[in-house]
Every structure is written in C-alpha cells, then in structure tokens.
Symmetry: D2
Subunit: 396 residues, 4 copies
C-alpha cells in the first residue's frame, strides 16, 4: 500500500488533531487510499519541535519549515499554524510540488487566498482547506438528503457558531484577537465554518449585509506563546493590556444565488455555548437541524409524513449513514472531534491517490475569503455587499 | 368585589382564548382585581353570535359592534377581530369611554396605530394590546433576571418565530395572507411577538435591516369565513387561487439603543416548527434561552458559576417564579396558552381598577408598528432604516 | 342544551382545576354534551366555602357535604378532598342517585374501593376517577398508535413519576404523608398515575415486585390546614415534628398479562424533577416516549422507517391528533394542566348524557388499588405478589 | 520515555478501538506514562491477522496467541476476543508475567472470573477490565461531584442501557446470542456496563431481584465469522435459524450496601435507542443525569440553588472537568468512543509504570460477574438474591 510522507508545520492543538487523524485513518478506512506517514513536524523552537515529534509520533522534527517544504522525501505539507503564515508556506509547498492541506481560514483575506489558489493550480498539486466540520457524518447526511431532494427546494438557512471561551474579559490577547495574525475575529475563526456549511448545503452566496461588534476592546497581553483558547485567565490588575482589533461577534444576512435567504451569526461571547455550531434549513418538503454540540444527531422533518406522526426525527448517524461503513458499528458509540479529522484526512489522501479534487479546497477557501471580506466591508459600510463574481476564477 | 362588563368583538379562536381567561382569571388570581363579566359577544351573523354566546358563556350577543361599544353597561371592549378592524373599533370604544384591549398587531401600520393611541389617550381610558407571550411565566422570569442584573449588560438578542401551518401551498388564502386585512404577513402575525420580546427584555430598537420573501405567491381562495389557520387544505386543481401580497418570511438585523445587536426572524414555512417562538440573549454575566414550544422552561447560564458546574440550567417555572402564587402549586403541572391569557387579563383588569398603566399598551403597540413599518421599508429599499424617534410621543 | 348541576366537595387546588374545567369545557367542546353548571361548592368552614364559591364561580356554598349530596338539584358530585374521605362521600352520592367523579387515588385501599364500586354499580350512576394525565393529548396519541398496531406488540413499559416538592426535610407534614388520610405516599399520590398509564396503554398487570423507602422519617407538623405541596418550608428548630408513615419512594417490577414486562417508579425526593411523569414503551415495530414536563410532545420511533432516516420523531399534538378539533388551532400553542381537566370533564359529561361508560371509572380505580395494595404487600414481604384476579369483578 | 510492547489478541471492532487508543494516548496525555508500542496482533487466520496488523499499525502478526503471550518481548496482553476466551488467555498471560487488560464482561460467570483474578494476583501483574464508559469525562465528573459531597447522600440509582441493533428478528445469530460463547445476553454485553456505573458511583450492590426475557427465540445462523452487530440482516425464508439461549432484556431491582435502592435495565430490543446508556441519581442535596448518546454532557441539579434559578444544569465537559487537560481545549469539540479508550489506556499504563492499581480491574470484573450471576439466579427463581460476600476476596 502506498505511503505518503507528511511534513506538518505546527505542533499545537490542531497538530494533535491532525496527528491523530494520520495514525487512525487507516484503522477506519481500510483498505486506506494511502498510509499517511508522520515524517517530520516543525515547530518554532527545537525544544517544542522535539517534544511535538515524540508526542505526536513523527519520525523527525525541525525548526525550519522551508527545509521541510523542500525535502524531497515529503509528499504532503500540512499547515497548522496561525492564519498569517498559511500563504507563505502553502505557496512555497506548491512550488516544491507538494500537496497541501491548510487549516482554516485559508488566508488573511481574499487577495492573499487568491495567490495561494493560483500557486497550487499552477503547480498542479492537490489542495485542501480544513473546514472539518462538514465531515461530521450528520452534516454529510444533511447533504445527502438535500441532494436526493428529500427536503425539496431550500428557502432558508440559519447558521450560528456560538462559543464562550473568550467571553471573560480576562482571557488573554492570543493571536486570535490580533488582526495582523488572524485576519479577523469570530468571523474568520468560527464564522467561516458556518459559511462553509452554507455553501456546501445550500449553494453560493451572492450578497451579505452584516453588523459586527468588538465587545471586549482590550485584553491582558499573553506572555506564553501557546494558544490556550482562553482557559488561562489573568485578572490581576497590573497585567498590561493590549488592543483587540478584530470582531468578537458578527451577524449577517445572506442571499443565495438560488433564491434562498438566511442569516449567519458567530460570537465568542455567548456564555454557556461551547461549540454551538448549528444550522437550520427549511425546504419546500422538509426541514433540517444540526447542532455540533450533539453531533451524532441530525434532526429532520419530512412534510409528507402522516399528519398524526409528523415532527422532527432525531437520526443518529451510524452504519446506515455517510462514512458509516468506516466508523463505528452501531450509532451513538460516539463521533468526536477526531472522527471529523480522520474523515478529512481520508478524503484528501483519496484525492491525491486518485488524482481527483477534494472539497473544500483552496478554491473554496478563496471563495469563503471573498465572502468574509464582503461581510467586513458590509459591516463597515452599513450596506449590502455583492460577492464580486468577476473575481472568482472557475477552478479547483 | 367589583365586576367589569366585557363586550367582546369577535367570536373565533382568539375569542375562545379570551373567554377562557375571563372565566378563569379570578380562580387563579384571588382576590381578583375585578370580576370580568362576559356581558356581550359580537360576531358577523346572528347565528355565529348566538352560538358564540352559548359556547363562550356570554349573557348577550349582537351583530352590531357599534351598539355594544356604546352600550352604557359595558366597561371594557375586547377586540379579537382581523387586524384591519382594530382601529375603527378601538377609536369608537375610546370615544365611548370604554377601556380597550386589542389583539395584536395593533393596526395595519404605524399611522393607523397612532390614531388609536391618540384616541385612548384623549379619552383617558385604559388600553392594552394582547402580546400575550410575554405573560408566559418563563418570559417574565427572564425579565426578572435581567432587571436584577443577573446576566449583566445585554450584548445580543436572537429571536425567532417559526411555524409551518401555512407551509403547504394548498393551505387557503385566509385573511392572514391579504395585505388589506392583515397589514403584513409573518411579520405582523407572529414577528411582532418577537419585536415585543425584544423591546420588553432588551430595550428600544433603533435600526433595522431586513429581507422578506413571499414563498407561496398564490393560494386557494377560501370559501368559508372562518380562520382555520391552515388545517383545511384544498389541493384540487380547479379551485380558484388568489394572490398573496404579504411576506411569508422576514429576517431582520436589529440595533438597540443601548448598544446591543441582534436578529429577528419570522416564517410560516418552517416544516416541523409549530409555535417555535424563541429568544436567546447573551449578556456580560450570563445567557438566556426560551422556546415557547417548551414554555414551562427558561434556560439560563450564569458566568460566575464554578467552572466545573457551569452550563445552562433548565428552570421550570412554578410557585417560586413570577405569577407563581397565582398559578399551579408545583412546577410543570403545566402552563398552556390559556394561562398566558389569564395573566394578561389579570394585569389589564388590575390596571383598570388601580388606575395605572399596563404594558404592553397602545403606546407599545404603536412603537411596534413603527418598527414593523421600518422593517418593511428596509426590505424594500435594501438598507438600514432608523426608527423615527421624532414620531414617537412619550406616553401611555 | 342540557345543563348538569355540579356539587363540588372541596375547594382547594384540585377544586380550582375542576372549576376551570367546568367553565371552559363548552368553549372547547362545542356543542358540548352538556353544560356543567357550578351549583354548589363545599368546604370545611363557612369562610372557606364562601370564598371558594366567589373565586371558583359557584352559585352556592355549603359546609355540609351531606346536604349537597342529597340536594335534588344536584346532578353530579365531584370529590376533590383528601383520600380518606372519598369513599364516604362517593357512596352517599351514589345512594342519592348522583353521578360521581372522584379525585385519585380512589380510596385508601382496594377493600374500600370495592365498596365504592359496588355502590355506584348498585345505584346505576355514572362514575369516574380523575386520573387526568391520560387525557393529555400526547398520551391519547400513544394509545392511538398502539391500537392501530403501529408499534407492534408491546414488550416493555418503563414508567416514572418523579417530583421534588417534598425532597426538603423541612417541607411540612401535610396529609399526604399520613397513612390514615392518604393511604400511601408517593405510590398513591403519584405512582397510581403511572399504574393508570400502564393499564391504559399496555394492559392488565398480573404481578408486581416492589421496594419502598421512607427517606425522611419525620417532618415539621403543619399548622395551617391548606395543602401547600411543600412550597412553605419550616426550618426553625423548635417546630414540633411528626412521623411520616408512608413511602417517599417506590420502585416495582411489573409483569403484564399479555407477556410484557416493565418497571414503575415514583418518588418525591428527586431534586430537579418537577412533574416528571414519563413512560417509554418498546414494541416489536416501534417505541414511544412521553414526558409530561414537555407534555405537548410524543416521541415515536417506527422500526420500518428507512435506515438512513430512522429515529425518534417529536410529534407535537394539535389539530391532527386526539382531541385536536376541540383544543387549539395549531400545535404547541400550549397544553397545560387545565386542558387535561377540560377533556376529563368532557368525557365524563358525555358518558352521562349518552349513558355510556367512561374510563377510568371506579372499576379502574378499584383495580389500581388492588395493584397498589399488591405493591405495598410485595415491598413488605420482599417477594412477587400476584394481583388477585378472583377479587376483581367484571363490570364498570 | 518507557515503551511497553503490546500483544493484542483479536483484531475486530474492539481491536480497532484499542489500536486507536495505543496510537493516540501519548498525543493526549503528554508526557505519557509510557508509550504503548503496537508489537503483535493475533487473529484467527493468517489473512485476517496480516490484514489487522497493516490496518491497525502493529509491527507483527500471528495466529498463535499462546506464542504471543509467551513472547518475552511483550509487556502487555490485550484481550479483545469473545467472552468465552478471556479466561484462558488471561490466565496464560498472567502466568507468563504479562500485564493484562481484558474486554468486558471479564468472564462467562463469577466462577471463571475468580480463577482469572486469582491468576493475576498470584502473578503480581497489573490487570484491568475494559468497562470503558466510566472513562467518559462526564461520568468522571459525576464521580467527582459525589466524592465532594455535592449531591449529598445517594438515595436512588436508575440505570439503563438500551439498544436496537438486534431488535430485528432477522439480525443474525452472532456469538453474542449464544450462552456458551457470551455467558449471557443483554445482561453481560451491555447491562454489566450499568452495573459498573452503579458500583463506581454509588457503592457495592447487596441484593438483586430481576426479570429477564428472550424476545426473539431464534435467529438466522450467521455464515461469516465477523461480528457485524446486526447491521447485516438476512430475511430470506430458507436461511437456517438457530436458538437464542441468552436474555434479550433484563430488568433488576437493586439494593446497595449503603442503603440506596434502584433499578437497572438492559435491552437490545428498544427501537430508536442506539447506545442509550444512562443513569439518574438522586441524592439528598442534588441529582445527576447522564446519557451516553449525548456524552459530552452531564446534567446536575443542586438543591441549594436559589428557588428561582433551580434546575438541571447541562455541563459540557472540557478543560475544567476530569481528564480535561489532556483532551480538547474547549468543551464540546467532541468526546467520541475513541476518547474513552484513550483514557482507559492511559490509566492502565499509568498503573503499570507507577506500580499502582487501576480500577476497574479483575477484582471489579469478578464482583460484577457475581452480581450478574445473582441477577440470572434471581430471574430464574423469582426472588431476591443476596450477593454472596463470603465469596468476595478483598484484593486487587
């Protein structure tokens, strides 16, 4: 069986999730399209990199991502670093002929994303962007229902991504609150997952009309380098504070090219919501509801059920639903975060081996950046902004 | 104990709900502020009126609402007729010196509502508009938490009202789909309840930015006069169809005067949603969630709970929560639609007897119409519309 | 339309619920089988009785239940007093030729219940016992599914009734904790509702095997006479305490005559459970789940649904489900405690007028007492106890 | 860092879960107590074993479990085979001085389990039995609350494990329906997980009183060797059928040594329930509820919450709850089946390295078998059965 050597740039939380997927993918999808081999991991210091290799099961480690990108033994570059570094690494990897998977959002904005897309297209390498939540089996099941026409034409999409890990004003000013590193705030960090759902399930978005807010304008400056996602608070009064220059919350109206309308909301100030990534879709023949906090379940109502037995069904994903053969033998044994990454890895490696395209890829990542840029522009101008189709190249 | 004679104009579904409240209010609130006496009911034909009186327990019936409005024995006029008749009846009642409660929405638009407000103010009578859902004990509990500062400053409000009784294109063209009678569609019929929640719980709305859709442009013309709320379908092909000229769905962004933002959505095309009237509120110290489909419950998360025991609490309303003394002796015996109307009646009769103001009243009804008008204007123009404060008179 | 005069013995919490039903029943069921007229209410003191009449809308009041029972103007005697008084009143009413409805449990035990059953049978009057929860539309819908074979043969029944209003050891020693007045504790007060569900939905119980516990052996003696259901606590140390001689909790295994098995549990010591009256039924073709705390909903899973869309449906009761025509025009407007009593009243008055039998009646009440007695006997002996069929007379 | 070589006997569904845990444990728990090295996997044929090694990442494979058990390079023997083989393998492994982890239930009955316990005690090796569900962070959180006294003294435990994968009479007669291989049916397969919860959270069980049923007495004989857990149906009429000689359902009353009472139910005939492993615990100061189908959540109600804000809290496990440091950085990213196995592996390897005992171990496994045997005896005799303490050796 073919083996593909992975060079992973970054060894933090997302690196753990990806390493798990590399180890576990063949255990779930067998025969695997290819065996992901954890060849080299890169981190910012020798100590961190060495530790990451031991912890995550990589054969080698390095502090020089350029060397790894250009290492002829490496087949795949996996980018799990902060947003502002995606472009440089991805473009270098593409030029070196490596297949590339990047964490999301793809870039700091559409302009940058476009250069990345052009680079991978020019190099003819495979590319993917890690909007992993659409790999949740229940989301894939929603897609199946829609494609089979089981809920009819879609009228409405309501998507939310609500968290509270930074709702405390004493949670630190990590890179996720700095525009120059993150590009945007809740919008890019979590809102783009909802945009990915919207495009995946409903279709292209044509127009947006948004409002954004930064609820906590300054936060304690983080001393350590690691992204703790707010679990470490610092409420002492003499800790220096820095400015937050990204959005804490965004709400946008959306219009789809196919006539559907909807709304998308993302906030990190929703006490009690942890990873409340939801969508509700109303079609002419039924409705769908999904909430990642109960991710084994898809709720569906079919309009043509008998009137005395009509209502939302809670369907647990399992062997009878998408990816079910590969996962666990009965429903509700438990889909976790790892499973979404295992499926993502499978689909990407399959595309590499079979020389096809996987979605979402850099083209999707670019289009999502166009939408994100339009959302920010709309919020600033206070008006509807059209997604500039002239900027969109067809291609993957 | 004082007795107040009620003349109720209209004997349909809402008439039943109000009659139940008149009969039951003293059983719940005792001693009652006053005993509502079901004096006369009015309907469009003698047969209907007579039947309504027998069914709903009124002593008399009439087909002449003007006569009833001017009957010196009548103390209170209760308007439970289609929207386009509210103004004429209410103004006549006010001129006759009667206290007036009107079903919602108050009028076909703000201009008309203003004439009603001016009439009741000029007459010095008590007035109320029947946005009954804020009487749900769980909603009143949310208000209590907010007033006591238990969830801090409000950042965000997300409200929905989703139904499916008219999602079928064969459900008839009742008056609710005709602009000249209803004023607007989902917006006025159900969306205004959400606007009432927003104003009640968060504060005045300053700006709106909306999109509306009419998903089913024509429906079978209804032959009978009764509003069946979609339970009678007519799918035969040769039934004549009429045009729907109101919205089936509305989504609007909202900005509040106090800085909060949010969204409001109302649709009657949401298969599987029955009376899905919800709000979620995020504050600096906690969050609230309510869904009328499970109306005995309020969900609340407090930010300062210990980190290993933080999460939404499901609080069942009962003796320890607002109106609890009057209702049932333990939580979850069951709050139904009737209870909201019983409380509404109590609060209105109390205001009459104690010569105070009840809320929501015609001033609230008028302000809600201003917002509804702005929502329609925004949807038409595709831009933010400011609620014209210059038009708002202070007063109740 | 026929009018039936009601004499109601008792003016407390249950009296309120019944009075509401008398007033509202014709508003919901129209044309009504008969108009219940609130003729006379009885309470223990003149002051209480007078107040009850004013509050509950009765024309007359009395402190002499025997006089009311024998009043020739009275058609129906409604017994809403503590358990130990049911028999004497019901038997006297039957002898006086009155139709009788009694609150549940019917009696202090099977022996007493049998005398009541014999009395009403001898008198030829109509009789009913107020196990109102089976009137919840969602429970009636479960019955409909079962009767139509939609969940196949029943294998299993799991019923619970969990409350917490007396979980606090400082909640007072009301009559509900005294064997001589209540007969038994959680078993009779709430557990018998579950037994009623079991018999209604599954069939006759043949054997039981139970364990009971009294978790709080003594409680503060209650000074006032009114049953506050635990809302008034008394934690002062010098309040005298009295002995609780009934069960706080009961769990029993059950075998049904048709081969099904199951368990029934009732406790008033379940913090956080308010009126958690549930059943789950597994059949060969599907499953049902109901929880009164969300009483508008019935959950049903059909085995023959497609494998990728199988799961529990949450069906909201409304116009398309039992009693739907009479209640509210769309689902989830809200079923409350009142509605169950309104339906109960309708069904009983219909039986009176049409000279048929209603269920549950005194025969059901008697059989439930046989089962309750067997449960207590089983708990005491620590062994399976067979429901003595020889004691059961066929008849209603 | 220390490396421990694992010999895994069995390469099916459970083997996959364990292999995932060996690969991922150090990624989560870092520094890891030891690195589990996937040395050799054993399966019944060379083809299956070779395939398992490639799929699951083992260096070697074998069809001779005895050779692997005696391989001096092997440190840990992991038994993931059908129940009837556990004893022989475990005893051989202990004699060879290997640490042993066995899938559950430990044995076909208490007698056999006792020989296993004696073997590992005699050998002085570490031992564990894979009741993995208590490793769910939400279950560990429940344990923490209880140990900290936050719900007071426990009065009641209600546990269920409901599935439907074999509710169809055409699902095949796998080894799980054969007494000689499985020991018992739903009881051993899933009910023992609930028994493990009961002992872990409440304490030792003293007495049981059970009823069992075999709802589907015969099933199609399975031709292939693989355990498909019912996903492959065979409804053709001419497929030969074999007898099911184990229970499909068991319900038992339980008494605990500390005075608590409760019930435990397990069934594989509950349509719509997938992995419905639940417990509800009522204490003097609060209540707990857990359902593995929503395994990121623990529900807890504290009696001393303010009366207007009392109710079940839905706590999502994450960094602030047990194992949180090791798992994912925010709550609700997603606990899946894999995570329970990762934690189980960590705890076992930690015990090996630190020379301590892990729980549940063979002593727990033995005591659970004593209880299971008593449940079957009780069901057969129709009477309470005491857990024979004289048979229980103290020790781990």
């Amino acid at each position: 069986m073919k083996k593909l050597n992975v060079g992973m740039i970054g060894g933090g939380f997302m690196g753990k999730a990806h390493a798990l997927a590399y180890a576990a993918m063949p255990m779930f999808f067998w025969p695997a399209p290819a065996i992901p081999h954890r060849h080299t991991v890169v981190d910012v210091t020798e100590e961190l990199a060495k530790d990451a290799a031991a912890k995550l099961g990589f054969d080698n480690y390095s502090t020089d991502w350029r060397a790894v990108v250009n290492d002829p033994e490496i087949d795949v570059i996996d980018i799990v670093t902060p947003n502002n570094t995606h472009a440089e690494i991805a473009i270098a990897a593409a030029k070196a002929g490596k297949h590339v998977i990047s964490e999301k959002p793809l870039a700091l904005g559409a302009e940058e994303a476009k250069t990345m897309l052009e680079a991978v297209q020019a190099a003819g390498v495979k590319h993917a962007v890690a909007f992993n939540y659409r790999r949740t089996p229940a989301v894939a099941l929603a897609k199946k229902y829609i494609e089979e026409g089981r809920i009819g034409n879609i009228l409405n999409f309501r998507g939310t991504y609500l968290q509270d890990w930074s709702a405390d004003s004493n949670s630190p000013l990590s890179w996720r609150f700095q525009k120059k590193i993150a590009g945007s705030g809740a919008l890019g960090d979590i809102g783009t997952h909802v945009v990915d759902f919207a495009r995946y399930l409903v279709g292209e978005i044509s127009d947006v009309n948004a409002v954004t807010r930064t609820w906590i304008p300054e936060r304690p400056i983080q001393t350590g380098g690691v992204d703790k996602l707010g679990t470490v608070k610092n409420s002492s009064e003499d800790v220096p504070k820095g400015k937050v220059d990204v959005d804490d919350e965004v709400i946008t109206l959306v219009k789809f090219e196919n006539g559907a309308i909807g709304s998308i909301e993302a906030t990190r100030n929703a006490w009690g919501r942890n990873n409340f990534l939801t969508f509700e879709i109303h079609g002419t023949k039924g409705s769908l509801y999904f909430n990642y906090e109960n991710r084994d379940e898809l709720q569906v109502c079919f309009a043509d059920d008998p009137s005395d037995a009509k209502g939302f069904r809670t369907v647990y994903t399992g062997p009878a639903t998408p990816y079910g053969e590969a996962l666990w033998p009965i429903p509700a044994l438990g889909i976790g975060y790892g499973e979404t990454k295992i499926i993502e890895t499978h689909d990407f490696f399959k595309a590499i081996v079979e020389n096809t395209h996987v979605s979402p890829n850099f083209d999707d990542g670019y289009r999502i950046e166009l939408i994100a840029d339009a959302i920010l522009e709309s919020a600033e101008k206070g008006e509807w902004v059209n997604i500039n189709k002239s900027e969109v190249k067809v291609g993957q």
